[in-house]
């Protein structure tokens, strides 16, 4: 009997494959359910990831960068009283910012101010920028839709958001007056011509910020060499611990170094919650799928009771019967997964350049979302979805497979023999 324990995979696979197609309709319904489930997992995850990525990207591009350096107290009181020395006065920081750890950086003056047109007055944040350094770091240059971008640190024109322009009831090339406080608490004001208009998402940004040349703003505020903030970009917004440590050690004493997630705890939490949420989403979909899968296999096993008794009588071992049902399940899962992945790819491909959600953009603006949603299909999400369905699907199939393998031959074929 030495060969009796041999597992004849070929016959087991052949029977499992053919058994799967005995009830075409039932198998196709189950395959469709698996495919749609996997599609739902991948598609929804791509949308959720895209949404969060976009919110974070918007947040990072809206001046925060990956890491910001401020004077201690600036975040509580963003005035000209809390300034830090410029980068060129800190050799260690200059070396870090010029290293490969940092892909872009800029320094800014950023103060609360009031903008006044001939008709309206609004509170805004006046930001003095170095236009060359902002490229690739913030949204400013790529958002200019009319007029020109700030040309230099000495540019005497302002860049204003379109929505703010509408509220001020003024136009490109018209004059406005900016007012703020200098370090001696005196009113500092200056007339500017509107040199450019920017359009960006979320639209709240258009009403919040007004940009000017760094040196022009410095002169207006009667500042010395100090600046309000340094913003820098690393390589990956999820991996900033090391860069933050290096920045902290390189930055001047009493500097407040914060990552984008620390500056915007809502966004940081959102990113952490998203991973957990995706797993919960996968679990919910799988739970719904598993009921169908277990039911389909139980029905198949029930219908084949006599047949299982027959193969047992012929000498097929319980373990082989268990594997046969499991392989049937694995084949079904694999085909369903392949179809689901294909469906996901086919449906994400046409919208990879973004889905227009401008109809609801106003409602989502509070969350920092744009009017175009870009699905983000991550390989690890696709692999996780497939692994969840395959591994948990096999576990779920153990119940019907175990039942099939535990049948007593005579009870299974009793209807035939007696």
């Amino acid at each position: 009997m030495n060969t009796a324990s041999k597992l004849s995979w070929k016959i087991i696979f052949r029977m499992a494959w053919r058994n799967l197609w005995r009830n075409h309709r039932r198998s196709l319904i189950m395959l469709s359910a698996i495919a749609l489930g996997v599609w739902g997992m991948i598609w929804m995850t791509a949308l959720m990831r895209g949404m969060v990525d976009q919110m974070i990207d918007n947040s990072i591009k809206t001046l925060s960068g990956h890491i910001q350096i401020h004077a201690a107290g600036y975040l509580d009181d963003p005035s000209v009283e809390h300034l830090i020395p410029p980068v060129n006065e800190s050799p260690a920081l200059q070396a870090l910012l010029d290293s490969n750890d940092v892909t872009a950086w800029s320094q800014r003056i950023r103060v609360p101010a009031v903008i006044r047109s001939e008709r309206e007055v609004y509170a805004v944040t006046l930001v003095g920028i170095d236009p060359a350094r902002e490229r690739g770091l913030s949204f400013i240059e790529e958002s200019v839709s009319d007029g020109v971008y700030i040309t230099s640190v000495d540019d005497k024109r302002l860049l204003v958001g379109r929505k703010l322009l509408d509220r001020l009831e003024t136009k490109l090339n018209r004059r406005v007056v900016m007012m703020s406080q200098d370090p001696d608490n005196n009113i500092a004001e200056r007339g500017f011509r509107i040199g450019g208009i920017f359009d960006t998402d979320p639209q709240a940004t258009e009403t919040s910020y007004v940009f000017g040349g760094l040196e022009t703003v410095r002169k207006m505020l009667n500042l010395g060499t100090g600046i309000s903030e340094i913003s820098l970009l690393g390589h990956d917004y999820r991996q900033l611990d090391e860069l933050k440590k290096k920045t902290q050690s390189a930055a001047m004493e009493n500097a407040d170094v914060k990552t984008w997630a620390e500056q915007d705890p809502y966004m940081g939490t959102m990113l952490n919650v998203m991973d957990g949420f995706i797993l919960i989403w996968f679990a919910i979909i799988f739970l719904a799928l598993s009921f169908g899968l277990v039911n389909t296999l139980l029905m198949a096993v029930f219908e084949r009771t006599r047949e299982i008794g027959l193969v047992q009588a012929l000498g097929m071992k319980s373990s082989n019967i268990l594997f046969m049902v499991l392989i049937e399940s694995i084949i079904m899962l694999m085909i369903g997964l392949a179809a689901g992945n294909l469906l996901s790819w086919l449906t994400i491909l046409p919208v990879q350049d973004g889905i227009d959600i401008s109809g609801v953009a106003d409602g989502l603006e509070w969350a920092g979302m744009s009017s175009t949603l870009l699905p983000a299909l991550l390989a690890r999400d696709v692999l996780t979805a497939n692994a969840v369905v395959l591994v948990l699907g096999i576990f779920a199939s153990l119940v019907p497979a175990w039942r099939a393998s535990r049948k007593v031959p005579i009870e299974a074929i009793t209807r035939v023999w007696q």
């Binding site: 052949r14 009588a313 012929l314 373990s319 007593v408 005579i410």
Partner: protein, 232 residues
Amino acid sequence: MTSGQANAVKCRGVSKVFSEGELAVKALSDIDIDIESGEFLCLSGPSGSGKTTLLNMIGGLDVVTEGEITVAGRRLDKMSMSELADLRLHHIGFVFQAYNLIPVLSARENVEFVMQLQGINENERRRLAMDILEQVGLNGLEQRRPAELSGGQQQRVAVARAIVSKPALILADEPTANLDSANSDKLMTLMRELNSSIGTTFIISTHDEDVMSFAKRLVKMHDGEIVADEMQ
């Protein structure tokens, strides 16, 4: 694959009671029988006499309520499910009265099924299967699935599967029930030839007089008891 045992099957005090709730039916009562290797034995008797139940017990498909059964020198009640499956695979061929074949396999694949579980190589398997199907008159029908065969043809495939790997013991429950007399004679002749040539032990349950005429030994049963045991 003959066992070489003097006794292919030995039953001692075998009883079987089927219980359902408070209702108990005694299907077999204190059966004692020795069946030697190479015998060609027919179990006869009316429906409900216990023929099929005794075959089930000898085949290790069901367990005795009392007594013991030894097949190929091994006590069935001492064997695990896995050992019983091995015994059936290597020593016993079965022909059931109906629902004999695996629906998703062709006639040839059904015949090859047991050999495949036994680990016989593909070429040898194929050759043996084609030969035996020819012997039972199913030339040209090898690729048909059971649903595409008549009842008689299905029964012949089942017989072919039972005898193809030449087990030491073949248990057949009404093997000719679905066959016409010509095919029935042909099948019984084939089984007798196998019995004579390689000494396969046959235990056949039947109430067909023609089938009984092929038996070397005829055991008559009634109400779960052996009422006659004659050599022919």
